[in-house]
Symmetry: C2
Subunit: 123 residues, 2 copies
């Protein structure tokens, strides 16, 4: 079995680095069957997902992860749950968030994002 | 396709009601392939999972869910991410938490918990 913990860590590092610096390059991580729930919006497919992510109304963003938990899941997929803080533009107060991914093997030794669920933690 | 959103909502309601009132009955939701990550502890199988859940050092607990997001996932499974507040014993201050489940069809029209990841949100 692949080392799901290392794969999850490498994925999360790459995902947020890409999100924070070259958001358009996240497209390579999704497929047409991929689903994103971002707060109360849900969409499926690379193009709708990228329109959502690129349309988010902030210029500068930084994710700081606090916890990362991974488990092997169905059909060699990996489930990853992250908690962390989101620093947006010049706002002083970071917002807590949680995000869950299902990573699915793509048959070429790599993984794509099958499920992606993001929520801010309020209060 | 089954209505994943209703299944997720019914599951979550049942899960926390059972957790808060008759925690030992959660055993019926897990199988020997089920995995639980609870904060920094990880275990697999009904007995280790139930030992963990029944051994948690609080007498009274109440989960109040804030958000529930679900997506269909691999092989007719359903992924569910919950955020909410945990009220323990007589403590005045609730703690925020997030929990992700993968629900897997058991072949009899019902679902069991394949993946279960729980984290408190600090700060």
């Amino acid at each position: 079995m692949a080392d799901f913990q290392s794969i999850a860590q490498q994925f999360v590092q790459f995902y947020y680095q890409t999100f924070d610096n070259e958001r358009q390059n996240l497209a390579g991580l999704y497929r047409n069957e991929s689903m994103l729930t971002f707060e109360t919006s849900s969409m499926q497919g690379v193009q709708p997902i990228m329109e959502k992510l690129l349309g988010l109304a902030f210029q500068k963003v930084r994710h700081e992860t606090s916890t990362l938990d991974a488990q092997p899941s169905i059909n060699n997929s990996i489930i990853v749950m992250v908690t962390g803080a989101l620093l947006i533009d010049e706002e002083a107060r970071p917002m807590n968030y949680t995000q869950t991914f299902t990573l699915c093997p793509d048959g070429n030794g790599s993984y794509f994002v099958f499920n992606d669920i993001f929520r801010l933690i309020l209060g």
